[in-house]
Amino acid sequence: MLKILKYSFYDLIRSRWSYVYFMFYLMLGIVLLFLNTDLSKAVITLMNVIIVLVPLIGTVFGVMYYYSSKEFTELLLAQPLKRSSIFLGQYLGVALSLTMSLIIGLGIPFVFYGLFKSNAIWDFSLLLITGAFLTFIFTALAFNIAISNENKIKGFGYAILLWLFLAVIYDGVFLMFLIVFEDYPLDKLSLFGIMLNPIDLSRTLILLKLDISALLGYTGAVFKKFFGTNFGLIVSTIMLSVWVILPVLRIVYISKKKDF
């Protein structure tokens, strides 16, 4: 698996798209910091970018990579390699190269800005960790979609739909649900709803840092425990890990049954 990972990774970090992605984050970091000079504001803007764009790029890139390397995958399949190592290797190659573009792209301007001397380092690290999680989750979801759909166009369509659903529609439905059932105690349910969507989960993780004052305005005891203690941080991190592990397991599972 490590060999596949190595080659996928090399292949990707030399691709044009990785550079585009890397440059994008580099520019974003520079623009946010040096044209704005306001670290707190930069972190907030970054958060918006990360929870929307990172999943989108992870999804699109994952699907794209899978389809474009299909023949190569077939070549590998004829080699004495386990299927799971081939797909996990490729998956990790994509996820790691994307994560690296993100972390280095954003990291460079922030380091130059003097991040290590600032209090924002924790907020910033949390952002990067969340970004890494989201990349791993959405690349895995993209691989799932791509493996299950031979048709490229369909695969792309489903991938974009998935992103749209989790990034926007889910929250809309969720909001409607909460408003319609506002007469019932909803705090447990609303936290549960957050757990089911990795984008919401990462958003919550960041809210814990940025908006704790507002979150503590709500009276529910479960909320208080979740947001007022480390409980929320721990649960969110565990759930994000589950969100990585489950799709990865499914990659292994369906790749074993699939015909090429």
């Binding site: 504001k41 926007v168 909001l175 609303s190 809210l207 507002a214 979150l215 305005g217």
Partner: protein, 413 residues
């Protein structure tokens, strides 16, 4: 001749003062080992010097003008039996005592030091611990409370007392005190013309500072941190609130500053940082908010209605989850030339003022008011989209509620 008489009188007064103002020393091995005894034998204007040691006394009534001064912080232990000092005379000074174990009761408000119908007192450098009420002024005037440290251990609101309480008192200066973990740090009821300056009031169960029916008071340069609510100003007029810090007042009913039924106040140069609600405003008129910093609060301003002719001028609103929330569609308040970190407009003519007005009230704040659980959708892309559409064509938020001249740069003063 006249000159001679003046000299003589001066001399006589000086002599008389010198003669009468004796110092009585109290210590455990001295002739006088109890404060009560010392007071009973003291004459007016004497000084009682209490040496270091532990004195188990309570219900000490100071009924003549005396200076009671502790040396190296002697401990007065009330053994939870009742009130410790009760001052019923003018011109009393209490200085440098460490008072502990004030009795508590559901029927009587026992205090460490109570001043009753007296004038010209000074209470300073006192440390109060394990107390019910700390310093209690009852119809007192022209006094000073300086450099004291009041450390309570209050847990439940209804069985604990206030740090410094003023009731029908006037012209009191409260300065450089440190108060923590009592019910209200400082509480003023029917007390006018007081100045509260440079105090720190923290970790109190209810309010850091609390005004009820008190007018013409100033509080300046105080810090209120992690209280149930920072400061509550209710049913009062002409209060000046200058350069205070309101910090980390977190909780469901927690505010940096709570304003209720107050008129004609000035709120200038304060810092509201990381409070659940920066200022909660209800039924206030003609208040000027100027040059305040609102940083990382849940809600910087929560306006609950019946607020008229207030003006919010040249404040900085930085990274609050919500800048302003309203619960009605009406607005009679002015927002002008504030800096909003959430402002996304531009300044093409480079005059330092944004060319597009800023609308500080978001649709989402209405939704959260209605269904509080929705707060977990904060900063979701979906919410941003509905907020944006509301911004473009307001339906739920007051039409005229906007800052027409939002500043492009952080305001400095």
């Amino acid at each position: 001749m006249k000159k001679g008489v003046v000299l003589l009188i001066t001399f006589l007064i000086f002599l008389a003062f010198n003669v009468s103002a004796e110092t009585i020393v109290v210590c455990s091995s001295c002739k006088i080992s109890s404060i009560k005894t010392a007071i009973s034998i003291a004459k007016d204007h004497d000084t009682i010097l209490i040496k270091k040691g532990i004195y188990k006394e309570y219900d000490i009534v100071v009924n003549k003008p005396l200076s009671i001064i502790g040396e190296n912080l002697p401990i007065i232990d009330g053994e939870l039996k009742g009130e410790i000092f009760t001052i019923i005379s003018n011109n009393v000074v209490i200085d440098g005592l460490h008072i502990i174990n004030v009795g508590s009761s559901y029927t009587k408000d026992y205090a460490a030091i109570r001043v009753k119908r007296s004038r010209n007192f000074v209470i300073q450098n006192v440390i109060l611990e394990k107390l019910f009420f700390g310093i209690y002024l009852e119809k007192a005037r022209d006094g000073k409370i300086l450099n004291n440290k009041i450390i309570g251990n209050a847990v439940i609101e209804h069985s604990s007392g206030n740090g410094i309480q003023l009731w029908y008192s006037k012209n009191i200066v409260i300065e450089n005190n440190f108060i923590q973990q009592v019910r209200d740090g400082i509480y003023l009821e029917f007390s006018d013309n007081c100045i509260i300056k440079n105090n720190v009031s923290a970790n109190n169960l209810r309010y850091g500072l609390h005004f009820m029916f008190s007018n013409h008071d100033d509080y300046i340069n105080n810090t209120f941190e992690n209280n149930g609510a920072g400061v509550a100003v209710m049913f009062s007029k002409h209060i000046k609130m200058l350069n205070n810090t309101f910090k980390k007042n977190w909780g469901s009913a927690s505010y940096g500053l709570l304003l209720k039924e107050i008129n004609d106040a000035e709120i200038i140069g304060n810092l509201f940082e990381e409070n659940t609600i920066g200022i909660n405003i209800e039924g206030t008129n003609r208040i000027t908010y100027k040059n305040n910093n609102f940083i990382r609060n849940g809600w910087a301003l929560k306006v609950r209605g019946a607020c008229y002719a207030n003006s919010f001028i040249s404040n900085n609103f930085l990274y609050n989850s919500f800048d302003v929330s309203y619960n009605s569609k009406l607005n009679d308040n002015i927002f002008d030339n504030n800096y909003w970190s959430n402002y996304t407009g531009y300044d093409l003519d480079k005059d330092g003022v944004g060319d597009v007005p800023y609308r500080p009230v978001k649709l989402f704040s209405y939704i959260v008011n209605r269904t509080p659980e929705t707060i977990i959708l904060l900063r979701s892309l979906f919410i941003d989209i509905i907020d944006f559409s509301e911004k473009v064509s307001p339906v739920f938020t007051p039409d005229n509620l906007m800052d027409n001249r939002p500043s492009i740069k952080k305001i400095k003063w």
